[in-house]
């Protein structure tokens, strides 16, 4: 080994050491980056929340906890919704709040049973808007076959909330003998996405009206438990399931690659993206892989069952464009790699902050 190579290795080793140290939050205050679902969110969760509440169930850092009560396996989850604007093409904060929690339950293979709904309302918020939101929550719950069985209401002073925030929690029962988890991907598995990505994120960004871009795009918000059912019936060898919400498909895949100590190799030209979404992303300098979905999931499936999995998904209206987008390799451990449509390669890192439009 030459002198220079040895010194380079020393520097790399030092970085590796720093990387393995327990997560620390160096910021003095919470910034929006802590809520974006990327690196800062993960650091906050690991350093602050996991630090304070540590237990074996929480440590798995799944989107839901699966706990055993008697001989039943229950799935339990909670999610808060602070979307702005409250109403957007294809949905509103109401159906988002129901579908989001239903989906977090569904990703463990659970059948969703019932939900709670907590409202934080700002003084001055129109009751008509609240009724519109609750009507769409009721419709979404009925569509998902769940009931909202308990709730809470708080009102904060004008200026201290953004109209309406909703928290939902949900309970489901895992009746299948599945054991899904971000840490269970294996070399040889196939990576499947259930439909075209990025639609919810782009819809909400455009609905804010700041960009003066119009596109024919709608939120993909939908309950996914029935789609998950068809998938698990056809392909019992599903190892990981995650809905690609904040941080998008790229962030979910990074979580899986890290937790499973494997590599994921993606093929850009196989990732389903509708033209309106890819067009908006081109204009804004965003990568659809990082844009949020509310009705799509990523499944890591035993390679031998990949075709069966995709066929089952495509037979369902919510999974028409499902596709195998990549595969799991043994190494380089923890990394998500992309073969670009242009024919090059790049590393797909976890989201660093909110996706921000580039100036040039």
């Amino acid at each position: 080994m030459s002198d220079a190579t040895a010194r380079e290795q020393q520097v790399l080793d030092r970085i590796e050491q720093a990387r393995r140290r327990p997560a620390r939050v160096t910021d003095e205050r919470i910034t929006l980056a802590h809520g974006a679902g990327g690196k800062a969110t993960h650091r906050l969760i690991e350093a602050v929340f996991l630090g304070a509440f540590r237990n074996p169930v929480l440590e798995a850092l799944e989107d839901q906890a699966v706990i055993t009560v008697g001989d039943q396996r229950l799935a339990f989850t909670t999610d808060s919704f602070v979307v702005s604007p409250l109403f957007f093409p294809g949905g509103d904060i109401g159906d988002l709040a129901v579908n989001g929690t239903v989906n977090d339950l569904a990703m463990s293979g659970a059948r969703p049973l019932c939900l709670s709904a907590g409202f934080i309302l700002e003084e001055g918020f129109p009751v008509a808007d609240l009724e519109r939101i609750t009507a769409s929550m009721a419709a979404a719950a009925s569509n998902a076959g769940v009931q909202i069985v308990t709730g809470d209401t708080k009102v904060v002073e004008r200026g201290k909330g953004d109209g309406c925030y909703i928290n939902t929690a949900g309970v489901g029962v895992v009746e299948r003998s599945v054991d899904l988890g971000a840490g269970k991907a294996q070399a040889g598995d196939a990576v499947v996405v259930s439909g075209p990505i990025g639609e919810h994120g782009i819809t909400v960004m455009l609905a804010r009206g700041e960009l003066e871009i119009e596109a024919d795009v709608q939120s993909d918000t939908a309950p996914l438990h029935a789609l998950v059912d068809s998938l698990l019936d056809a392909a019992p060898g599903v190892h990981c399931l995650r809905d690609a919400t904040r941080g998008g498909v790229a962030t979910v895949l990074n979580e899986i690659a890290t937790a499973s100590h494997i590599a994921i190799a993606l093929e850009e030209d196989r990732v389903p993206v509708r033209p309106a979404v890819s067009g908006a992303c081109e204009l804004l300098g965003l990568d659809p892989l990082y844009v949020a979905c509310e009705g799509r999931f990523v499944a890591v499936v035993d390679g031998a069952q990949a075709d069966a999995a995709v066929d089952a998904l495509r037979a369902h209206p919510l999974g028409e464009s499902a596709a195998v987008v990549g595969r799991v390799n043994a190494d380089p451990e923890g990394l998500v790699l992309l073969r670009t449509a242009f024919g090059g390669t790049r590393i797909v890192d976890m989201l660093v902050g909110d996706p921000l439009p580039r100036i040039c």
Binding site: R7, E8, V11, L12, R14, I15, E16, A18, T26, D27, E28, R29, I30, T31, L32, A33, E210, L211, E212, A263, A265, E267, P275, S278, G279, E282, G285, D287, N329, D331, P332, L335, L337, L338, R339, T340, A341, F342, G343, G344, T345, R346, I347, D349, V352, G353, L356, P357, R358, I359, C360
Partner: protein, 375 residues
Amino acid sequence: MRYVDEYRDADKARALATEIAALCEPGRQYKFMEVCGGHTHTIYKHGIDDYLPESVQLVHGPGCPVCVIPMGRVDDAIAIAEQSDVIMATFGDMMRVPGGRGSFFDSKAAGADVRMVYSPLDALTLARRNPDKRVVFMAIGFETTAPSTAMTVLRAAADGVDNFSVFCNHVTIIPAIKAILDSPDLRLDGFIGPGHVSTVIGCRPYEFIARHHGKPLVCAGFEPLDVLQSVYMIMRQLADGRAEVENQYARVVPWDGNAKALTAIAEVMELRPYFEWRGLGFISQSALKVRDEYAAFDAERIFDVPGVRVADPKACQCGEVLKGVIKPWECKVFGTACTPETPIGTCMVSSEGACAAYYNFGRFSRAHVHEATKR
């Protein structure tokens, strides 16, 4: 997608790659700098390096407009934003650029009213909608964005909007390239010229690079085939023993630039005697300030700007990394004082900067990545 896919054709890329490889002299190493951050993004996003022979290396230049803003200027901007009657309007990617004491994100968290806008005109609209506030636009960027700032000031002046000003941090590309060229330890063989800047300034200002420094420069577009073709054009010049300015991006870049945009800049702004660049230090006549005639729209004069000077730590060697003299890991502060979480120099600020990319992924060789993505 029409007008996009044509410029991303993998078959054409392979053909160009073959021609580039054929132009390589055995045993010779080639280093080309892409001056503009937009090109760095294209190269990274599409994986253009994979089409280049081992002996051809692309060096990321100083043209990332948010990365070159020195820490002191970020601190000054935050000091303005923290005043109670101020709305600070900024481009999104400026939000997380750290100064000596945090970023706009941090000051927003601490209570400052910082808003993201997509054009300076949006900031002017904010001013009209908030007559009881003073709206300051954080003006950054090269000649690409300076005309829109200038036009906005002209509009504000014409319409008498008196609660609008700009904190002018516009920089000019030529002095930065000159600073790099004048360095005695320069190891570059040619330049991929900044396409968007050139739509404004044209191709003529680069002629000294070919004439006095003997280096080819090709103004390039931002699609992957544009970049690959520009590399080919530079290689062709070197093989022919030529050093010229050529325009690969002729579909957008006029040879003489955009006279209207240049007039607007000249009307509203003038050169500063010197300006500090993150990692590169002070470069004379490398930035613009608002002219006296438009002092009413100049945040530097309206507000009591502290004029914070945060010296880049002596050990920061961004300049050498940019010039291709040292590799990121050879810098004295790399990975210790300077990390992606606490960046010191421009190369660490942007995730595509040479140092940030090396910090995150240096442990994986290109061969390693290539092997893992084989079909």
